[in-house]
Symmetry: C2
Amino acid sequence: GLAATSDRSTIPTVRHAIAVASGKGGVGKSTVSVNVAVALAETGASVGLLDGDIYGPNIPIMMGIKQALERSETGKITPPVQYGVRLVSVGFVAGESDAIIYRGPLVGKMIQRFLSGVDWGDLDYLIIDLPPGTGDASLTLAQSAPLTGAVIVTTPQEVALADVRKCITMFRRVNVPILGVVENMSYFLCPRCGERTDIFSHGGGRAASEELDLPFLGEIPLDPRVRVGGDEGRPIVVANPDSSLALA
Amino acid sequence: GLAATSDRSTIPTVRHAIAVASGKGGVGKSTVSVNVAVALAETGASVGLLDGDIYGPNIPIMMGIKQALERSETGKITPPVQYGVRLVSVGFVAGESDAIIYRGPLVGKMIQRFLSGVDWGDLDYLIIDLPPGTGDASLTLAQSAPLTGAVIVTTPQEVALADVRKCITMFRRVNVPILGVVENMSYFLCPRCGERTDIFSHGGGRAASEELDLPFLGEIPLDPRVRVGGDEGRPIVVANPDSSLALA
Ligand SMILES: Nc1ncnc2c1ncn2[C@@H]1O[C@H](COP(=O)(O)OP(=O)(O)O)[C@@H](O)[C@H]1O
Ligand SMILES: Nc1ncnc2c1ncn2[C@@H]1O[C@H](COP(=O)(O)OP(=O)(O)O)[C@@H](O)[C@H]1O
Ligand SMILES: [Zn+2]
């Protein structure tokens, strides 16, 4: 597989490892990671999802799974499977109020454990949800995994350009190609009258991708069903397969 | 003043230093800091605003001010004034892509510089915008300043309870009383037909404040004028004094 040729071949059985990043928190990075992973699994691919967001490991909630880690006889962690996706999260390891313990060197060790200490099996895709921002936690994670590429999630505000640029700087440092930019919370359509409101502006993500010569992967509108899916642990691609969000 | 009696009296001339915190990014913490500071200044109080959000110092943009720091003859920094508020930001010091350099010990030194190295003058209020989350950067800042109290900003999702609880854990460590909880992005009213949609759910912040026995300071709806104000550097209390947001 891809990883075997690079000196970072900690996961030889994974064909494509894709990081999902954002310049700051609260833009929908974890929501996009979960829905991309589940959508890929629904096409028949074998998919893993690593929740590396040490500041707010919400992926277990969004996937509707509360699970302590189990070990196989090899001593490796056996990831639980939900919606066809093998899942491991820092949330399985840390307690709710442990957020403060994550300092630089610990992050690196923990990620190595999740990459080489988990029995992922043969995977077509491993989606890695990075911590928000471009600080040392994200950098450490991006350096530890043999990444095929990265997807940047942004909201539509004009300031999005600065956020996307920061992510590019970080990925250039570790020679990871950028697969594209997703603009989330792009607009809102009133459920009663259809009026469109650009609550968080519109188009900043597309403009950033054009200015920085990156592929634009699409817009996702603000939609209460997305948030409900996250709260109830049923990702939107599972709950509403036909919705335009699922196709994004 | 209050600070003079505690051993942390790095700012003897400030009557009340108030931290604004959030469990995660993107919930509107900086927006609330800016609007609280400007609203207090409009009542005639003397107000300072310290942007300590090292991961995303957006306050200069939200206050419409791009300013390098000037020094007085005493060698202290003279904070520029905008909308009646004296303002200092880590954004004045760091370049756009410098986000990565902030590691634990550096944060503490920088904050000390902003607290004792700035010529704040006599202030009724100093509003301190903390970094998002409860990691070591927020903890360091909360420890360095002689805080009267802290305001927690959250969004309405059910997961808000976990975020507010994390903030309480952090402030308890440094003996800082919590003044209350603000729920932002509480609901959306369609500008054409008035239909209300709880895009990010509703009431999680109020429920958290009741469960944790904290004062509930109010709801702020999702409103494009808030975002426009942030993008254009004209805080909503300045742009639309009568709006319900200004009164929150
Ligand atoms: N397009 C959307 N429409 C409505 N709510 C959304 C959308 N994208 C994300 N959300 C909600 O916004 C909140 C933050 O999303 P999350 O994925 O946790 O952001 P991040 O990982 O960037 O911090 C969650 O409650 C999620 O359900
Ligand atoms: N009530 C609101 N309605 C509409 N937009 C808002 C509201 N509160 C914040 N915003 C916008 O959301 C974005 C994030 O807000 P910000 O204050 O930067 O969050 P934080 O400081 O928590 O990261 C900004 O573009 C801001 O203008
Ligand atoms: Zn309507």
